[in-house]
Amino acid sequence: MLIIKNGMMYDPANKIDGETIDIYIENGKIVEQPANERNNNEDIIIDAKGMIVMPGGVDIHSHIAGAKVTKARVMCPDDHRKDVIRKTKISRSGTGYTVPTTFITGYRYAKLGYTFVAEAASPPIATRHTHEEFNDIPIIDKTAYILMGSNHFVLDNIKNNNFDGLKNYVGFLLNATKGYAIKIVNPGGVENWKWGKNVKGLDDVVINYGVSPREILQNLAKVRKELNLPHAIHVHCNNLGSPGNLRTTLETIDAVKGEPIHITHIQFNSYAGENWGSFASGASEISDKINSSNNVTVDVGQVIFGNATTMTADGPWQHTVYKLSHQNKWVNIDVEMETGSGIVPYIFKENTAVNAIQWAIGLELFLLVKDPFRICLTTDHPNAGLFYYYPMVVEWLMSKKKRDEMLNKINPKAKEKTTLANIEREYTLQEIATITRAATARIMGLKNKGHIGTGADADISIYKFDENNIVKSFSSAKYVIKDGRVVVKDGEITGTHFGRTYYVKTKGEANDEIKETFEKFYSISFENYAVEDVYVPRKEVTECCKESITNQ
């Protein structure tokens, strides 16, 4: 048994707020306190006196594995030279900086106290690749969201008003790819980009299909409900990044008519103004909407100043970023029948007005959304910032003083075009534990993550907290426990543990129609499409439809 004693526990899901409670761990799970006093020499006891104890971090949206991530790695040798990591007796070597290699991704998440990370955008046909990389990411648990917002079968079924066909296809696709959730990126716009165009709003149409982004969102939200998937549709809205896009975001929320929707990196979709000159914050309108609609959850995509590598399935937006950024490198990949992707290196600069305003908008959203169970900490790694800077975000949220220091340092437009300077709120540790753990796990429907109740996975992070140095406190955990094993001690990797891959099993299988279309228009055989079991050696499967289990 592993026992963590005397720690101050922050477990928002179980409403434990800084109480001193001992934790008992056996076989990788949290167990009840034994009835009798234990006196077993084999017990490992961690004395967490003076330390804070939280569930292992759960990241709801990050780009850590798959085709575009590795394309970005290969494309930027210049980026890696700044950040090299030697091998040790137990850990592998690798490189950073903005897009760390797989081994380093696992180690660095673990050192922060994170134990579960969702890869936010996997093209179905390349998801075998995503799983291959998962198997080279040590320690943490992983899962993949599957891109569907511009998929041929999705568009075609909607065009033909064939909802049952759509539902069956989505179920088939999640099963075939071993994915976890429906990801929608710039619905319809990614397909139009294959002809060099985009969509401008929810009622624009997709070329050759005649369906609208609104219909895509509504139908997939309904499919999500009927398939009983654990996570809501995970949406990267239309018009991301553009001035004035807050209207599109509000319309997107209205479009799903009360069905659960998770809007990701919403900072990039909370902009007022008509053009780059009048660019301003729309955080008040957006947070009002979130506060008044109980079907909406969001993650922020907080900007961190410095180097980033932008990568998304939103090809048309990436073309714009390429032209705006004056970078020499631009990657675009059109993926047959399904989706696309674009990659552009980018630098967020403190003295650039738009970047400074973007930074402030992210924090406004965190501070204006009232219920921390509805908002999650992300930087859309490595798009708006790198995940290893999460502790900086925590500091800005917990300390008005610290964020004012930054606000006073950056382009003054940030004060002028946002309300950040007037917001007094400071996050408590309990609220930090919520937006990094309890909320993310709950929103993703992960029952055994994000809390420390009996039966939960024994994924725990322990920090020495110093309120005068919040960044340092959270940058390297004192201890991290994954599945009941100590994997980090004093900020160093101590064990070569491997986590699991999470995916759903639901109703839906390929019928003759799907197979026939597939053989005609894909460039691979249908039989070689589904990801084989060999790619998920350590897995955790969420069964979604009870009916489908009894059928087998």
Partner: protein
């Protein structure tokens, strides 16, 4: 027994509709494949290495057959004693072996390199300087109404590419009738003959032609003496530009005629930049015609494990990348490495003479299912199960699509991955 939808482990097309007929663990027939594919399957056992072998002394003429344990022991010893080992090859094996080879390189402080050094390296170096605008092969089939083959000859080098993906194939919104096909090459190849337009360019003038097109698209005048400069007449260039701008979905495929002719990565750099600029007018993509079936696999696996695609050095215990400094050909030619582990390639046959000559002077281990010139000069030869025929694994197509290689017959030998795992264990225990 008929095994269907087998992936062909020969070229970068990774055709995955091959049917292989097997009886008594022998391949009897192959359907759907091109001539190269059929030969690869039917003759996979010809000239095979029958047992692990080693030479007691480098100067010995004959090998002696040994057990696998002895071969692994001797290999471990060589790698352990080497100050600067080289691991080379791996473009024609599965991803899992490529990953294990990188781990072995990390453990031994080796330099590891694969074939792009001598073929499509310039494509990747261009990616690193300007990016890449590309599409999967199914997009080409479904959408492309203009295809340009530049310095490549798929009809002969990637025999099914033209029919399956890029030429005569019919997709969702395009087919041969809607597709305008241009070949730009120094001679009239079979691909040129099947194209709607052949543009003959003087050897080594790719960069000039690309630059003229880029300038013309930006409104510059095409010089009147252009034909003298590069062998292409002005009308052909003007027509080409009009067709490019007028296409709804254009695609350029390029081969070693571009990457290995004068200018190398500057040619690919220019071609990709041209395609980027064409995206101001319409939709255009550009794809390299990768030769060996899993070059892309090593680029991916080493990319996600180390951040780098080839020419990677571990002598400082972390990965460093520098083509030239850490390219196998140069390391050998400069006589820097003092041992070499060769996996699934034949550098003595393929690399320049001065590189090959150094291999004869240092301890060499070859892991290969077949005898090769390199095997003949090796100290240790370890036979393996051929990936994609006798062993499963993953491979990446030229456009980055990952596919599962199948095992159609059994081998008495371990796969490359398993051999490398044993070597890693051996090095760790020493």
């Amino acid at each position: 027994m008929e095994i269907k939808n087998v992936v062909c482990p020969f070229c970068g097309c990774l055709c995955d509709d091959i049917t292989v007929k097997v009886e008594d663990n022998e391949i009897k027939a192959v359907k759907n494949g091109c001539g190269i594919c059929i030969t690869k399957f039917i003759k996979h056992h010809v000239n095979a290495v029958q047992s692990p072998m080693l030479k007691k002394e480098k100067t010995d003429e004959n090998f002696v057959n040994v057990s696998m344990d002895e071969a692994i022991e001797k290999t471990g010893e060589i790698l352990k004693n080497a100050k600067y080992p080289l691991i080379f090859g791996l473009s024609t094996t599965e991803c899992e072996a490529q990953g294990k080879a990188l781990e072995l390189a990390e453990l031994t402080g080796a330099t590891i390199d694969q074939l792009p050094s001598v073929c499509h390296g310039p494509s990747i170096m261009a990616l690193q300087s300007v990016g890449q605008i590309t599409a999967t092969l199914g997009e080409v089939k479904n959408r492309a109404d203009m295809v340009i083959f530049w310095g490549c000859n798929p009809i002969e080098a990637h025999p099914r590419h033209f029919n399956r993906y890029s030429g005569t194939t019919a997709g969702m919104w395009s087919d041969r009738n809607k597709r305008y096909i241009v070949t730009i090459d120094v001679r009239e190849t079979h691909t040129a003959k099947k194209s709607d337009k052949f543009i003959k360019i003087s050897p080594g003038k790719d960069y000039e032609l690309i630059s003229i097109i880029r300038a013309a698209i930006k409104g510059q005048k095409i010089p009147d003496n252009v034909e003298e400069m590069m062998g292409v007449n002005k009308d052909d260039i003007e027509n080409l530009i009009n067709k490019m701008k007028g296409a709804k979905y254009g695609v350029v495929f390029y081969g070693m005629g571009m990457t290995q002719s004068f200018g190398k990565e500057l040619n690919t750099d220019g071609a990709i930049s041209l395609v980027k600029e064409l995206n101001e007018w319409t939709k255009f993509s550009i794809n390299p015609m990768l030769g060996h079936y899993n070059v892309a696999g090593a680029v991916h696996v080493w990319g996600w494990q180390s951040g780098y695609p080839f020419s990677i050095n571990f002598s400082l215990q972390y990965p460093r990348y520098n083509p030239g400094e850490f390219s196998a050909t140069q390391i050998l030619a400069r006589k820097e490495c003092d041992a070499a582990l060769i996996i699934a390639t034949d550098p003595v046959a393929h690399l320049p003479n001065e590189a090959a000559r150094h291999l004869a002077e240092i301890p060499v281990i070859t892991i290969d299912p077949k005898f090769s010139l390199t095997a003949l000069i090796s100290d240790v030869v370890i036979p393996c199960a051929t990936a994609g025929i006798e062993a499963e694994g993953t491979a990446y197509r030229m456009d980055g699509i990952p596919l599962r290689l199948k095992r159609v017959v059994r081998s008495e030998f371990l796969s490359d991955r398993e051999i490398l795992e044993r070597l890693i264990e051996k090095i760790k225990e020493k």
